[in-house]
């Protein structure tokens, strides 16, 4: 029983599901629901991005591009071509997966700074395209997106959206935890440590990196599509460089190589701007300071650092030497 509860795959997942199930008790009005839904959508992206950054050790500064492609794909197919939103979402997701697969090959051959700049360049290209092709995207002013319908019934109301996003988040976390525990996860951690050493021990690092890149792009695209349908409006800011940075900050702040850390990071950094109304002007300063501060003082991120602190405390209480 104890080991069942302590395992992140079962105990942690149960805790997350419980939090999601009980949270509506504290969500007293629609605004709170709205924030919770945005948290959930961002958390889905971050869980995927964390697989790439935290586990595979590959940075992406262009994930808002995939998020935005999903959002615009859904928006354009459903608004301009009258596709059912679900079909639009699936088509957009498949397109993003294909695109990530095609560009992932050359991009992931790059390392470190080069990879960062290449993903950044890719993101910037996508955002310029979105702002320029205004007959499709509405240009910098954005475009409106029809509401999401599921088998003929329209998904409306904060409660319904909350349930859908909550269920998807649990599914995303479950997928991520399973992937990490699988041989693929071990391979990823190996190549994140040293790619050459991983290759020598027989890991096809190019294939593993590509797979995680595609998975994280798919997570971002699905969340992007849903965000577009949920908010009913989409502007190029969703695929801007700054949005990519926001996503990376969430992952980094919550804790690299920690799936729950990604969720916590998304929760904290999505809620913060909503809570402080004056925050708008200071948004960039705060995000920049959080990125630098986390990396300098708490490079493992919030959740792993707290976990280690708790582990040490428990160890001390037991009179042992303390666990690492």
């Amino acid at each position: 029983m104890r080991s069942w509860l302590a395992s992140p795959r079962t105990g942690g997942l149960a805790a997350l599901a419980a939090v999601i199930a009980l949270l509506p008790l504290g969500l007293v009005n629609n605004y709170f629901y709205e924030v919770a839904i945005l948290v959930g959508l961002n958390a889905i992206v971050c869980v995927g991005l964390n697989l790439l950054i935290g586990y595979a050790g590959q940075i992406s500064l262009g994930h808002a591009g995939f998020f935005g492609l999903g959002a615009y794909g859904s928006a354009i197919l459903s608004a301009r071509f009258g596709w059912p939103p679900l079909a639009a979402l699936i088509a957009a997701t498949l397109t993003v997966a294909l695109l990530a697969h095609v560009i992932g090959r050359p991009i992931l051959r790059l390392r470190g700074h080069y990879l960062a700049m290449a993903t950044l360049g890719m993101g910037v290209i996508l955002s310029i395209v979105a702002a320029t092709e205004d007959h499709w995207t509405g240009g910098p002013d954005g475009m409106s997106v029809p509401p999401f319908t599921l088998f003929g019934t329209s998904l409306s109301g904060e409660g319904a959206w909350y349930s859908v996003v909550g269920a998807l988040l649990v599914a995303a976390v479950w997928l991520s935890l399973n992937l990490i525990e699988s041989p693929t996860g071990r391979a990823l951690r190996a190549l994140s440590g040293s790619e050459v050493a991983a290759e020598v021990s027989g890991i096809d690092s190019a294939r593993q990196k590509l797979m995680v890149f595609v998975i994280s792009a798919v997570f971002a695209s699905v969340a992007g599509s849903l965000t577009a349908h949920y908010s009913g409006f989409i502007t190029p800011s969703k695929l801007s460089f700054f949005h990519s940075i926001e996503l990376v900050t969430m992952v980094v702040f919550g804790g690299m190589a920690s799936t729950y850390g990604a969720v916590v990071g998304a929760a904290v950094l999505t809620t913060l701007p909503q809570l402080l109304t004056v925050f708008k002007d200071y948004e960039m300063v705060v995000f920049g300071a959080i990125m630098m501060g986390t990396m300098i003082f708490m490079p493992k991120g919030l959740v792993p650092s707290l976990g280690r602190l708790a582990g040490t405390a428990v160890g001390a209480l037991r009179g042992g030497k303390g666990v690492r």
Partner: protein, 291 residues
């Protein structure tokens, strides 16, 4: 040669010189520390915006410019001392996030300290265009080209002839060996950040009368400076200059003959193409990764 083509080439060389200065800044820091400073573009912004605001406050233009370069250099030194130095042994991803954080922070501060409007700086010596083969050349372009040339020559002298410059070169070649022969490697790192911040600020001041300046010019100029550095071969001084000029000319030609809306895309497409197919750039040596 048609007047139009001459016009595009002149504008391309001008903006290319600016990219070259930014690219040199990237290369100097990269050589000394193997860090790509993602905040490089913000030094360009600090240069332009500080000059505009100090000149607006009544300072003589030259004094405003000198103050702006000094301020940028100070910010560069602070960045190295407070953020890069503490994380010196951290993985690359960590350093990338730190310098990106710094760039977001500086940009946010600029929006708070100044504003989010676009500002113009008066040209250094009038704005009556000089006619060359039917094309108009702004006097400011001559300033850009002249100062860039002077800086390139000064850097060439600095790295080739002075003890400090040679120490910096030695550090970039082999840090441990440099330390063994008594070079203060930490000081070299610090100086490289200050120097490249100052270069960025000069670029920002030179270009402000032509393309205007604002709190967020750093992102595009920084990215294109990096694209230029990669194009020429990261870490190579002549490569940075060549990459800047090639990029500037490619950009104005494509803006003129293809599509002006997509002129910014050209830089990134070029950068991706170079990264994919020619990762060491035009003049760079082959990069060997140590395990």
């Amino acid at each position: 040669m048609s007047a139009q083509l001459v016009q595009y080439l002149l504008s391309g060389v001008t903006i290319g010189a600016i990219y070259a200065l930014v690219a040199l800044g990237f290369s100097i820091i990269f050589n000394a520390s193997h860090v790509i400073n993602f905040a490089q573009g913000e030094f360009v912004m600090i240069g332009g915006m500080t000059t505009v605001s100090l000149a607006g406050a009544g300072l003589p233009p030259l004094a405003a410019m000198i103050a702006a370069v000094l301020l940028a250099a100070l910010v560069g030194l602070a960045l190295e001392k407070l953020a890069v130095e503490p994380a010196r042994h951290a993985p690359v991803v960590t350093l990338i996030i730190i310098t990106i954080g710094a760039s977001i922070l500086l940009r946010g501060l600029a929006a708070l300290v100044w504003d989010k409007k676009v500002h113009a700086l008066a040209p250094f010596s009038g704005s009556a265009p000089i006619e060359i083969a039917g094309a108009a050349l702004l006097p400011q372009s001559l300033w850009v080209l002249g100062v860039t040339l002077a800086i390139v020559l000064a850097l060439w002298w600095f790295f080739g002839r002075t003890l400090l410059g040679k120490a910096m070169l030695a550090t970039s070649n082999q840090r441990v060996a440099a330390q063994l022969v008594g070079i203060n490697v930490r000081r070299v790192l610090l100086i490289s950040f200050g120097l490249s911040a100052a270069l960025g600020a000069v670029a920002g001041i030179l270009i402000a009368p032509i393309t205007l300046t604002s709190w967020d010019v750093g992102i595009m100029l920084g990215l294109k400076g990096f694209a230029a550095a990669v194009l020429g071969g990261l870490g190579s001084g002549p490569g940075a200059v060549l990459g800047g000029l090639v990029l500037g000319i490619a950009e104005t030609l494509s803006a003129g003959y293809l599509s002006s809306a997509y002129k910014d895309v050209i830089a990134f497409v070029l950068m991706l193409a170079v990264l994919f197919f020619m990762p060491s750039g035009i003049l760079g040596g082959r990069a060997v990764e140590r395990v």
